[in-house]
Symmetry: C2
Subunit: 121 residues, 2 copies
Protein backbone atom coordinates (compact mmCIF):
# COMPACT_ATOMS: atom_id res chain seq x y z
CA UNK A 1 0.00 0.00 0.00
CA UNK A 2 1.13 3.54 -0.70
CA UNK A 3 2.16 5.54 2.36
CA UNK A 4 1.41 8.92 0.90
CA UNK A 5 -1.66 10.65 -0.46
CA UNK A 6 -1.80 11.54 -4.16
CA UNK A 7 -1.60 15.28 -4.68
CA UNK A 8 -3.62 16.27 -7.73
CA UNK A 9 -1.83 19.60 -8.38
CA UNK A 10 1.55 17.90 -8.20
CA UNK A 11 0.40 15.26 -10.68
CA UNK A 12 -1.01 17.93 -13.00
CA UNK A 13 2.38 19.68 -13.00
CA UNK A 14 4.03 16.58 -14.49
CA UNK A 15 2.53 16.78 -17.97
CA UNK A 16 1.35 19.31 -20.49
CA UNK A 17 0.15 17.33 -23.50
CA UNK A 18 -3.49 17.55 -24.45
CA UNK A 19 -6.14 14.84 -24.85
CA UNK A 20 -3.93 12.16 -23.33
CA UNK A 21 -5.30 10.97 -19.97
CA UNK A 22 -2.77 9.90 -17.32
CA UNK A 23 -3.66 7.37 -14.65
CA UNK A 24 -3.01 8.56 -11.09
CA UNK A 25 -4.79 5.86 -9.09
CA UNK A 26 -6.56 2.55 -9.37
CA UNK A 27 -9.56 1.48 -7.31
CA UNK A 28 -10.86 -2.02 -7.94
CA UNK A 29 -10.91 -2.22 -11.75
CA UNK A 30 -11.36 1.52 -12.23
CA UNK A 31 -8.81 4.17 -13.05
CA UNK A 32 -8.71 7.77 -11.89
CA UNK A 33 -7.07 9.81 -14.63
CA UNK A 34 -6.03 13.40 -15.18
CA UNK A 35 -6.35 15.06 -18.55
CA UNK A 36 -5.61 18.49 -20.02
CA UNK A 37 -7.28 19.67 -23.18
CA UNK A 38 -8.22 22.62 -25.32
CA UNK A 39 -10.16 22.81 -28.56
CA UNK A 40 -12.44 20.08 -29.84
CA UNK A 41 -12.32 16.34 -29.32
CA UNK A 42 -13.88 13.76 -31.66
CA UNK A 43 -17.41 12.41 -31.50
CA UNK A 44 -17.44 8.99 -29.85
CA UNK A 45 -19.26 6.82 -27.34
CA UNK A 46 -18.29 4.27 -24.70
CA UNK A 47 -20.54 1.30 -25.33
CA UNK A 48 -19.76 -0.46 -22.07
CA UNK A 49 -19.47 2.24 -19.46
CA UNK A 50 -20.53 5.55 -17.99
CA UNK A 51 -17.74 8.12 -17.73
CA UNK A 52 -17.22 10.82 -15.10
CA UNK A 53 -15.62 14.20 -15.81
CA UNK A 54 -14.72 16.31 -12.78
CA UNK A 55 -13.40 19.73 -13.81
CA UNK A 56 -10.40 20.85 -11.77
CA UNK A 57 -9.45 23.99 -13.69
CA UNK A 58 -11.17 25.98 -16.42
CA UNK A 59 -14.39 24.94 -18.05
CA UNK A 60 -15.45 22.39 -20.62
CA UNK A 61 -18.47 21.70 -22.75
CA UNK A 62 -19.80 18.22 -23.28
CA UNK A 63 -21.65 18.18 -26.57
CA UNK A 64 -24.39 15.66 -27.12
CA UNK A 65 -26.35 15.28 -30.34
CA UNK A 66 -29.32 17.07 -28.79
CA UNK A 67 -27.75 19.46 -26.28
CA UNK A 68 -24.59 20.92 -24.75
CA UNK A 69 -23.69 20.75 -21.07
CA UNK A 70 -21.23 23.24 -19.53
CA UNK A 71 -19.05 21.84 -16.75
CA UNK A 72 -17.10 24.37 -14.72
CA UNK A 73 -14.36 24.07 -12.10
CA UNK A 74 -15.74 22.19 -9.11
CA UNK A 75 -18.46 20.53 -11.15
CA UNK A 76 -18.84 17.01 -12.47
CA UNK A 77 -20.92 15.24 -15.05
CA UNK A 78 -21.62 11.58 -15.71
CA UNK A 79 -21.80 10.73 -19.41
CA UNK A 80 -24.18 7.79 -19.73
CA UNK A 81 -22.98 4.56 -21.28
CA UNK A 82 -23.42 4.37 -25.03
CA UNK A 83 -24.19 8.06 -25.48
CA UNK A 84 -22.42 9.81 -28.32
CA UNK A 85 -20.56 12.86 -27.10
CA UNK A 86 -17.74 15.26 -27.89
CA UNK A 87 -15.82 17.35 -25.38
CA UNK A 88 -14.46 20.81 -26.04
CA UNK A 89 -12.81 23.68 -24.18
CA UNK A 90 -12.25 27.25 -25.31
CA UNK A 91 -9.33 27.69 -22.90
CA UNK A 92 -7.22 24.93 -21.42
CA UNK A 93 -9.24 22.72 -19.12
CA UNK A 94 -7.94 20.26 -16.50
CA UNK A 95 -10.20 17.41 -15.49
CA UNK A 96 -10.25 14.16 -13.58
CA UNK A 97 -11.80 11.16 -15.29
CA UNK A 98 -13.23 8.12 -13.57
CA UNK A 99 -13.75 5.09 -15.77
CA UNK A 100 -12.99 1.37 -15.94
CA UNK A 101 -9.36 0.53 -16.69
CA UNK A 102 -8.89 -0.08 -20.38
CA UNK A 103 -11.40 2.57 -21.43
CA UNK A 104 -10.16 4.15 -24.67
CA UNK A 105 -10.56 7.94 -24.78
CA UNK A 106 -12.06 7.85 -28.28
CA UNK A 107 -14.25 4.81 -27.69
CA UNK A 108 -14.34 2.67 -30.82
CA UNK A 109 -13.11 5.49 -33.06
CA UNK A 110 -9.50 5.41 -34.18
CA UNK A 111 -8.24 8.96 -34.39
CA UNK A 112 -5.05 11.01 -34.10
CA UNK A 113 -6.27 11.81 -30.55
CA UNK A 114 -6.62 8.15 -29.54
CA UNK A 115 -4.34 7.82 -26.50
CA UNK A 116 -2.79 4.90 -24.57
CA UNK A 117 -5.15 3.53 -21.92
CA UNK A 118 -2.54 2.79 -19.29
CA UNK A 119 -0.20 5.77 -19.12
CA UNK A 120 0.62 6.28 -15.42
CA UNK A 121 2.01 9.41 -13.84
CA UNK B 1 -29.90 12.12 -18.79
CA UNK B 2 -29.31 15.16 -16.61
CA UNK B 3 -28.95 18.46 -18.48
CA UNK B 4 -26.87 20.17 -15.86
CA UNK B 5 -23.51 19.53 -14.25
CA UNK B 6 -23.36 18.66 -10.56
CA UNK B 7 -21.83 21.50 -8.54
CA UNK B 8 -19.92 20.08 -5.60
CA UNK B 9 -19.99 23.27 -3.47
CA UNK B 10 -23.73 23.61 -3.96
CA UNK B 11 -24.24 20.00 -2.89
CA UNK B 12 -21.99 20.50 0.15
CA UNK B 13 -24.15 23.46 1.23
CA UNK B 14 -27.20 21.21 1.48
CA UNK B 15 -26.17 19.26 4.57
CA UNK B 16 -24.21 19.65 7.75
CA UNK B 17 -24.42 16.32 9.57
CA UNK B 18 -21.24 14.39 10.13
CA UNK B 19 -20.21 10.85 9.12
CA UNK B 20 -23.24 10.41 6.89
CA UNK B 21 -22.26 10.19 3.21
CA UNK B 22 -24.69 11.61 0.65
CA UNK B 23 -24.81 10.29 -2.89
CA UNK B 24 -24.45 12.97 -5.58
CA UNK B 25 -23.92 10.82 -8.68
CA UNK B 26 -23.98 7.26 -9.95
CA UNK B 27 -21.63 5.85 -12.56
CA UNK B 28 -22.20 2.23 -13.54
CA UNK B 29 -22.65 0.51 -10.17
CA UNK B 30 -20.55 3.05 -8.27
CA UNK B 31 -21.64 6.00 -6.18
CA UNK B 32 -19.90 9.34 -5.79
CA UNK B 33 -20.68 10.60 -2.30
CA UNK B 34 -19.96 13.70 -0.24
CA UNK B 35 -19.26 13.49 3.46
CA UNK B 36 -18.45 15.93 6.26
CA UNK B 37 -16.78 14.79 9.43
CA UNK B 38 -14.79 15.80 12.47
CA UNK B 39 -13.34 13.74 15.29
CA UNK B 40 -12.77 10.00 15.09
CA UNK B 41 -14.59 7.33 13.12
CA UNK B 42 -14.67 3.64 14.05
CA UNK B 43 -12.19 0.96 12.99
CA UNK B 44 -13.61 -1.06 10.11
CA UNK B 45 -12.76 -2.61 6.76
CA UNK B 46 -14.52 -3.08 3.43
CA UNK B 47 -14.00 -6.73 2.55
CA UNK B 48 -15.18 -6.43 -1.03
CA UNK B 49 -13.89 -3.11 -2.27
CA UNK B 50 -11.25 -0.44 -2.39
CA UNK B 51 -12.45 2.99 -1.30
CA UNK B 52 -11.36 6.43 -2.54
CA UNK B 53 -11.24 9.54 -0.35
CA UNK B 54 -10.71 12.85 -2.17
CA UNK B 55 -10.38 15.74 0.29
CA UNK B 56 -12.27 18.88 -0.80
CA UNK B 57 -11.83 21.00 2.31
CA UNK B 58 -9.68 20.65 5.42
CA UNK B 59 -7.52 17.65 6.15
CA UNK B 60 -8.06 14.11 7.34
CA UNK B 61 -5.97 11.29 8.67
CA UNK B 62 -6.49 7.72 7.60
CA UNK B 63 -5.25 5.49 10.39
CA UNK B 64 -4.08 1.99 9.58
CA UNK B 65 -2.91 -0.52 12.15
CA UNK B 66 0.71 0.12 11.15
CA UNK B 67 0.72 3.74 9.99
CA UNK B 68 -1.19 6.99 9.53
CA UNK B 69 -1.67 8.76 6.21
CA UNK B 70 -2.49 12.50 6.07
CA UNK B 71 -4.75 13.55 3.21
CA UNK B 72 -5.05 17.29 2.59
CA UNK B 73 -7.32 19.39 0.39
CA UNK B 74 -6.66 18.47 -3.23
CA UNK B 75 -5.28 15.06 -2.35
CA UNK B 76 -6.74 11.58 -2.61
CA UNK B 77 -6.02 8.17 -1.20
CA UNK B 78 -7.19 4.70 -2.14
CA UNK B 79 -7.84 2.46 0.87
CA UNK B 80 -7.16 -1.09 -0.29
CA UNK B 81 -9.91 -3.71 -0.06
CA UNK B 82 -10.02 -5.56 3.22
CA UNK B 83 -7.65 -3.22 5.05
CA UNK B 84 -8.69 -2.16 8.53
CA UNK B 85 -8.76 1.61 8.84
CA UNK B 86 -10.18 4.51 10.82
CA UNK B 87 -10.63 8.05 9.58
CA UNK B 88 -10.25 11.15 11.73
CA UNK B 89 -10.15 14.92 11.36
CA UNK B 90 -9.08 17.55 13.89
CA UNK B 91 -11.17 20.23 12.19
CA UNK B 92 -14.16 19.64 9.96
CA UNK B 93 -13.20 17.90 6.75
CA UNK B 94 -15.21 17.64 3.53
CA UNK B 95 -14.45 14.75 1.22
CA UNK B 96 -15.73 12.95 -1.84
CA UNK B 97 -15.97 9.18 -1.65
CA UNK B 98 -15.95 6.81 -4.59
CA UNK B 99 -17.16 3.30 -3.87
CA UNK B 100 -19.60 0.67 -5.14
CA UNK B 101 -23.24 1.41 -4.40
CA UNK B 102 -24.35 -0.34 -1.25
CA UNK B 103 -21.01 0.15 0.51
CA UNK B 104 -21.70 0.66 4.22
CA UNK B 105 -19.58 3.40 5.81
CA UNK B 106 -18.68 1.21 8.79
CA UNK B 107 -18.12 -1.98 6.78
CA UNK B 108 -19.39 -4.96 8.76
CA UNK B 109 -19.39 -3.06 12.05
CA UNK B 110 -22.73 -1.89 13.43
CA UNK B 111 -22.18 1.41 15.20
CA UNK B 112 -23.97 4.64 16.07
CA UNK B 113 -22.13 6.12 13.07
CA UNK B 114 -23.44 3.49 10.63
CA UNK B 115 -25.26 5.54 7.97
CA UNK B 116 -27.79 4.77 5.21
CA UNK B 117 -26.08 3.64 2.00
CA UNK B 118 -28.44 5.34 -0.42
CA UNK B 119 -29.07 8.85 0.89
CA UNK B 120 -29.16 11.13 -2.17
CA UNK B 121 -28.74 14.89 -2.21
Amino acid sequence: MECKAINISEKLSLFSDHWSPKVIARMNDYHLKLVKFQGDFVWHAHKETDEVFLVLEGEMTIHFRDKDVAVKKGELFVIPKGTEHKTSAKVECHAMLIEPEGTVNTGEIQDAKTAPVDSWL
